[in-house]
Amino acid sequence: MLESLLTQLEKQHLIAAFALVGGAMYLSYIVSDKLTRGRVHGSAIAIMVGLILAYVGGIATGGTKGLADISLFAGLGLMGGGMLRDLAIIATAYGVRFQEIREAGMSGVVALFLGVIVSFVAGVAIAYAFGYRDPVILTTIGAGTATYIVGPIAGAAIGASSEIIALSIAAGLFKSILVMIMTPMLARHIGLDNPRSAMIFGGLMGTTSGVAAGLAATDPKLVPYGAMTATFYTGLGALLAPSVLYLAVRAIF
C-alpha cells in the first residue's frame, strides 16, 4: 500500500511538488510568525528551507540538482525550472503602472539603476576577493547579489554551473534577510516615512520580499510603493546583468 503511494507520488511528480512546497511554506510562515514575530518574512524562511532540503538531497544522492535528484521529488525540478519561474516572475509585473513609476520621477529611475549596479559591483568585488576570475562566475554572483531571481536568470543565460547559481541564490537570500531586519531599525534615520522615499528605497534595494517585509514592519502603508519599484529592479537586473554588465565584466577581467 505504501509502495503504491510512493509510485503515485513519483508519477504525479509536479503535483507532489506543489503539495510539498505548499506544506513547506505553511510551516515556514508559522515559524516566521511564532519564532521571529514576523521579523523574518515567511517567504525568506521557506526559501532557506528549500536551500537546506537541496543540501540534504545533494548529500544523500551526490547529484547536482539538490532534492530533485531523489525521484520522489523530481517534480521540484520542473516546478522550479526556468519555464515556470520566468512565467511567475513576469506575472509579478502585472498591476505596476507606468504613470505611478513616473511619480517617483527621475530620482526613482536613478535609484533603480544605481541600486542594481551597486549591488552587482559589490557582489563581483567580493567574488573577486575570494579568488574567482571567470567572468561568467563573477557576473552570476554579482547578479545574485542584486536579487536571488536575477542570479539564476543571468547564470542560466550565460552558462554558469549549478553550484555558482546556488551560490548566487544564497547571496540574494542573505540580502533579502538583511533588508528585512535592517529596514525597521534604520527607517527613521533614512527618512522612510512617505510613499516617495519608499519607492526610492525599493528601487535601491530591489529584493522584493526583503523590501515588502521590511516596510511592513516599518509602516504597512508603504509596502505597495516599495514593492512596486523593487519589482522593476528585478526586471532591470534581468535585463542588465546578462547583457551590459556581463559585457563590462568580460571587458575588465
Binding site: 528549500g50 538531497g57 521540484l76 512565467l87 511619480e103 545574485g144 539564476p152 551560490l167 533588508v179 505597495p224
Partner: protein, 146 residues
Amino acid sequence: MVIYGVALLAGCMLVGLWAGDVLGMLLDIDSNVGGVGIAMLLLIFIGGYLSDKHKMPASTESGITFWNGMYIPIVVAMAASQNVAAAIDGGLIALFASLAAVSASFALIPLFGRSSKKKPSSDAPSTDQAPLSAPSVASSHSRPTR
C-alpha cells in the same frame, strides 16, 4: 475567462524571450539578453492599456494574479533543486557579498534624502503626491489610506 489572462502572460513571455534571443544575436553574445525584463515591460504596458480600456475582467486578471502568487513557491522549488551541497563551501562569499551590497545601498539613501524631505510628509499630500493613487500591487496588501 482565466485562460485569457494566462494566454496574455504567456504571449508576453514568448515575445519577450524571443526578443531577448534576437537581441543576443544582434549583440553577438550567445545568450538571451533580458528577455524576462522585456516580457515584464510588455505585460506592464499591455496589461495597463487593457485595464484602462476596461478589457480586463476579474476572471482574466486572476489568470495572471495566480502566477504572481506562485512566484515565491516556485522560487522555493527552485532553491530546493539547486546544487547547494557544492555551493556550501563558498557560503561565506554569499554572506559577505550580501553584506557589502546592503551596506552600500543603505549608504546611498541619504543621496536621495533631500528630494524626499523637500516633499511634505504623507500626512499632507502635495499636488505632486495627490495623483499618486495606490499601485495595484496594493490589492494584495493593505491599501494605503491618506
